[in-house]
């Protein structure tokens, strides 16, 4: 078997676990090296190119990269990738001059983006510099969408949103603020070459239990309440607050309530603690602020006296799994629990709502009311209407919206230039040897034993008094350097040239992780069992060489390779080399032809 020959770019892209896991495929090790070198502006621009909102994401990202990080398999904890991204944003020099210039010449194509959230702004960012006339509509006075309305300011300061939204709008994008779109038919009639719908998932799911209607004055939908807090319409909350729901919105609600006068704030969740949708660190942050999370409790009834909320009754349940692994919550039979409270925030999920899209204009919807959208091209059943972000496939995170934006922008560009929208060029990549001398590499291959550093927090006594004070202080440059050095540089690959190998075993002997084996070739499943260390992690590939002089092959298990380069340092013939792989992914403006 020779896995890397099938699709080399994908093979080596996959070795960079974090980048492969990132929906926007941010070159993580590359920017972490730049942070270590103190080149914060360069690190920021690499991020900006991939994910458009480094400062915002460095505070709020759901971090799919971190569970994927190889460091987590070698040690306990992954590199604090997300918070290093914030370091790049915090310490960068002025990068305004490094942003792409406004297009010198318009190409005559007009694109409408509906909603000014991360998906639409990414489409605008990708298309405006190419000469597209991009118009972004939003009902709010400022752009940013849910990043501005739903994420509390103590997690994401307004100044950060302003800065990064402006970088996009300053590319020559027209922003129509305060303009609510009530009819897609009308927009379609205005002659745009393409329309991108990035209107989010704007409706919070409600609760349907007895007493809900009677006590309506003290029960709020989470995302609406957060938006009201964000705009200053809500400035305080009662002392006893129950937050329903186990997602990140629930965590934002409870922590916001804690800052607006809520002294006894509780989160009550149907599911168990582990199954909650909220990110582990968001749960931790809530608990750190003295907010208990109560699990396996299903809302049953709202108690009220004369239309005034007095409390909620919950039924206790436990999880049972059927033969197909589906979870059922069954009552435990214990007596119901009454929790007294003065206000309830309902954060039990979000729904998409498209009352403004007429059903007879070619955009088709499925049974659940979601638009039918191609998951690769983001095209709807109307050829010039595209969807992205939460509007396309339901609520996800900012980084997914950015990824959708890139994909949709590519499609829109293809459509406007008369190319096949479905034709996506394969990923490509460039290898560059990192060798500078006998034991000198362009990257720091000394493996740091430092454990993951925690981001310092502002003291609760201060943090809980002002909803606009940012809780996380971020890494300082010294901590950032130390954390950056934990990165294993997985984009610097061990590249093996079979024709140079003399089979001296030096690489096998030096490899600290027992990754390398010289053995008879075989089928992958069988090969995995007879390596120096058995390759049990099936999600990680085997790197198998061409046959050597002894008819054996070199097999390297990618799983826990430290990318320390000792195999290459020990190799007498240069059969091993450490080469940095930079993956090149298709973006709006790249064509299949130019990459052929």
């Amino acid at each position: 078997m020779r896995s890397d020959k099938v699709a080399p770019a994908d093979y080596f892209h996959k070795v960079v676990d974090c980048q492969w896991a990132c929906p926007a495929h941010t070159p993580v090790p590359e920017y972490i090296r730049l942070i270590a070198a103190g080149r914060y502006g360069d690190a920021y621009m690499i991020n900006w190119d991939s994910n458009v909102f480094p400062g915002i994401l460095g505070r709020t990202c759901d971090r799919p990269c971190e569970p994927a990080c190889r460091r987590g398999r070698v040690e306990d904890e992954p590199v604090a990738i997300c918070r290093l991204k914030r370091v790049a944003a915090d310490f960068k020099e002025n990068v305004k001059e490094r942003m792409p210039p406004k297009a010198a010449r318009k190409n005559g194509k007009r694109v409408a983006c509906i909603g000014a959230g991360p998906a639409s702004l990414t489409v605008a960012r990708d298309l405006a510099p190419l000469g597209y006339d991009v118009v972004v509509f939003d009902s709010e006075p400022k752009a940013g969408g849910m990043m501005r309305t739903q994420i509390p300011k103590f997690r994401l300061p307004e100044s950060v949103i302003d800065e990064e939204v402006d970088y996009v709008l300053d590319l020559g994008v027209t922003f129509r603020s305060g303009t609510r779109i009530d009819s897609l038919r009308q927009v379609m009639g205005e002659g745009y070459d393409a329309i991108f719908v990035g209107s989010g998932a704007p409706r919070g799911r409600d609760l349907d239990v007895p007493g809900r209607a009677e006590a309506a004055a003290q029960i709020h939908i989470g995302i609406d309440w957060l938006a009201n807090v964000a705009f200053g319409h809500v400035k305080k909350v009662s002392k006893r607050v129950i937050v329903l729901g186990g997602g990140n919105t629930a965590m934002d609600c409870c922590r916001s309530a804690r800052r607006l006068g809520g002294e006894d704030v509780k989160v009550v969740v149907r599911s168990g603690f582990e199954e909650m949708k909220a990110s582990p660190w968001e749960k931790e942050d809530a608990m750190h602020e003295g907010i208990p999370i109560l699990n396996f409790m299903v809302p049953k009834e709202v108690k009220h006296v004369d239309g005034r909320l007095t409390g909620m009754v919950f039924e206790k349940v436990r999880a049972e799994y059927d033969a197909r692994g589906r979870r059922n919550l069954v009552p435990t039979g214990e007596p119901d629990t009454l929790i007294e409270c003065d206000e309830v925030l309902v954060a039990v999920g979000q729904e998409n709502a498209f009352p403004w899209i007429e059903r007879d204009i070619g955009v088709e919807f499925d049974k659940s009311g979601m638009p039918i959208v191609d998951p690769v091209t983001y095209q709807s059943t109307a050829p010039n209407v595209f969807f992205g972000g939460d509007a396309a496939f339901g609520p996800k995170n900012i980084i997914w919206a950015v990824a959708h934006g890139h994909g949709a922008a590519f499609s829109i560009d293809a459509l406007c230039q008369g190319r096949d929208v479905a034709a996506r060029p394969a990923a490509d990549g460039v290898f560059v040897s990192q060798k500078m001398g006998i034991h000198e590499w362009t990257y720091d291959n000394d493996i740091s034993l430092q454990r993951r550093l925690k981001v310092p927090l502002r003291d609760n006594a201060v943090a809980l008094t002002d909803i606009r004070v940012e809780v996380e202080l971020g890494f300082d440059t010294r901590r950032a350097l130390s954390e950056a050095q934990r990165c294993l540089n997985c984009d610097v690959d061990t590249i093996f040239a079979a024709k140079l190998c003399i089979e001296c075993d030096a690489c096998v002997d030096i490899c600290p992780m027992d990754c390398i084996t010289f053995t008879k070739d075989g089928a992958e499943g069988e090969l995995r069992t007879r390596l120096t260390a058995p390759a049990v992690n099936l999600t990680q590939d085997l790197y198998v060489s061409d046959p050597l002089k002894t008819r054996r092959v070199m097999v390297k298990d990618e799983d826990v390779c430290l990318h320390c380069g000792l195999c290459a340092e020990r190799c007498p013939t240069g059969a091993w080399d450490m080469q940095k792989f930079s993956v090149q992914l298709p973006r709006a403006g790249t064509t299949c032809q130019s990459r052929a």
Partner: protein
């Protein structure tokens, strides 16, 4: 060589032996030999053998002389005892140490210069005295540390890197060891750990002088087309007499061989070496036949590897000298200074 220490991280599923140690606990300092040096593979084979035998590193003494080979004890078994002696004098230092404390496992590491030139006499006497030890020669046919002149084991007609041919006959250390009465004699190749590791394990368990001549290509000076000790040459001319499975006392015997293909060799501690014969009907207990076999194949230009000769239950220097059971270094003043009465008794016996 490498400037960086080997990272401390290890494979999360790394195997542990009976002592709870991993093979990485048998490492020493990072090697400063040339990248790709065969000697590093020998070091690695020693580490794996000791790991697999569950040996506590502090019960091992590693001794060496001078040369590339003799630097290697620094690079394995960092927790063992060590003595880096004068050039060619490892055998006598080892003999002395063994006399003083017979309880340690003695590992003598030497090279072709150290053992076949300056220390040739030392080599001979340690073997003929029957010192209980493992004597490994990392044999590359050149003086690597002085830029690659021919050593005494270089084959006649082999060439240096720049073409000069060797006019002299070589010393075959395996043949010498057989003549001098070594009770365990083997030859192996640094590029074949499958053969080398079980040989080292068997040599460690063998009580008596165990000699292993290990061909170890010098990547800097003797791994070219005119060399007879290069990776390619040894692989092309390797004539293994047998393949070994070292089976410790505890391990169950799991593999099966056809009758006649296999020869069992018992070691004094109850463990067994199973030899799978390859090719000719080779008897590993016949010293004379071994010498003949070696000479015949030497003329044919073949390198005989594997376990060449082993004597079951040979005894060692302490048996010959009839020393007391207690290691000499553990004898107290009362044993060593028996007093005037004892002296008078001895004197009386001599009158």
């Amino acid at each position: 060589m490498t400037y960086l220490p080997k990272p401390k991280f290890r494979h999360p599923a790394i195997e542990k032996n009976e002592l709870g140690l991993t093979h990485r606990d048998y490492e020493g300092a990072i090697s400063t030999l040339c990248a790709g040096c065969g000697h590093d593979s020998i070091s690695s084979a020693i580490m794996h053998a000791c790991f697999e035998l569950d040996l506590p590193p502090h019960r091992i003494a590693k001794l060496s002389g001078i040369g590339c080979s003799s630097k290697t004890p620094t690079y394995f078994l960092g927790n063992a005892h060590g003595f880096n002696s004068v050039h060619g004098r490892m055998p006598s230092v080892l003999t002395g140490a063994n006399l003083a404390n017979k309880d340690l496992i003695y590992l003598g590491v030497s090279g072709d210069g150290d053992s076949a030139s300056i220390g040739f006499g030392q080599f001979a006497h340690a073997i003929r005295r029957g010192v209980n030890m493992v004597y490994i020669v990392a044999n590359n046919g050149v003086y690597g540390l002085t830029k690659g002149q021919f050593s005494a084991t270089a084959d006649k007609g082999a060439t240096l890197k720049k073409g000069a041919a060797n006019p002299d006959d070589p010393i075959d250390l395996v043949m010498m060891a057989l003549h001098l009465g070594a009770s365990f004699v083997a030859r192996s190749f640094s590029g074949d750990k499958g053969q080398l590791v079980p040989l080292i394990k068997a040599a460690v368990e063998h009580k008596g002088p165990a000699f292993i001549d290990c061909i170890s290509p010098c990547v800097a000076f003797n791994n070219h087309d005119g060399s007879t000790k290069s990776f390619d040459y040894v692989r092309a001319h390797n004539e293994a007499v047998n393949a070994l499975d070292f089976i410790s006392e505890r391990a169950p015997i799991t593999t099966d061989y056809a009758p006649g293909e296999m020869q069992l060799v018992k070691l004094h501690d109850g463990s067994t070496i199973r030899l799978r014969k390859i090719g000719a009907d080779y008897d590993v207990h016949d010293r004379v036949a071994a010498i003949n076999y070696l000479m015949k194949h030497d003329v044919a230009g073949e390198i005989v590897t594997g376990l060449v000769y082993v004597e079951e239950d040979p005894g060692d220097m302490h048996d010959r000298l009839q020393t007391v059971d207690t290691p000499l270094n553990q004898l107290g003043d009362a044993d060593l200074i028996p007093g005037a009465a004892a002296l008078a008794k001895i004197n009386a016996s001599l009158r």
